[in-house]
């Protein structure tokens, strides 16, 4: 798993690549919490190159959402691969998150 961040307008865009599983979800969590800890309140997670996620990774998405809701921030997801979207649908996560087709639409 790798996270590449950039600043675009009011948002910090974090592009995730690789796998988020039980062996590395805490790394993902630490990096996301670091971004929030620096005061970034509006985050886009670009999932274009995220090709696997298990429940431990989904948990980090939920924790991030709860945290940003608490600070009136925004968490937008985009470019999700169909297989990952399916897991979000099954988990009921698709209705919890704002999911956009592309990064441009997510930057609002």
């Amino acid at each position: 798993m790798e996270l590449t961040t950039s600043k675009k307008g009011d948002f910090t865009v974090a592009a995730i690549s690789g796998r988020i599983d039980t062996t590395n979800y805490n790394e993902f969590e630490t990096q996301i919490m670091d971004i929030i800890g620096k005061g970034e309140n509006n985050i886009v997670l670009n999932c274009e190159n995220l090709n696997y996620i298990s429940s431990s990774g989904l948990r980090v998405f939920l924790i991030t959402q709860k945290k940003l809701m608490g600070s009136k921030g925004k968490l937008h997801l985009c470019n999700m691969q169909p297989a990952i979207k399916e897991i979000f649908d099954i988990s009921g996560f698709s209705s919890i998150f704002k999911i956009f087709d592309n990064e441009e639409e997510a930057l609002v």
Binding site: D21, Y52, S54, L62, Q65, M69, S91, I96
Partner: protein, 135 residues
Amino acid sequence: MQKHFNIKNNIQQLPLLAEELEKMGEEWELDMPLVTNLNLVLEEAISNIVFYAYDDEREHEINIAAEKNDNKVVITITDDGKPFDPTKKETPDVSLSAEDRQIGGLGIFLIGKIMDTVQYKRENEKNILTLIKLL
């Protein structure tokens, strides 16, 4: 077609499992999304075993057997941990909003959603979990 692999009760072995499944997927000509889903299901089941099945500090072996025929893939996971029936676990309410959603409880739920049949039995002091996916 049959395949067997063993992994230790160490979470760092999960990448090995992913490799084995990828090889199996190629040999058995399974779709990539199916291989990914089987990987997910196995990760959820095995991480539960690794985290909760053992109270001792000893090394244990978890046995995975996979079988494919014309219309299904059957995966059997056997461990010698304490009795645990995942089919009896309470399912999370996936219709709740983010505020009300509990962190956790998703792993076993995903197994049940992805697979067509999930069966559990306790035999000879072992947990045997059988997971079936129709093709």
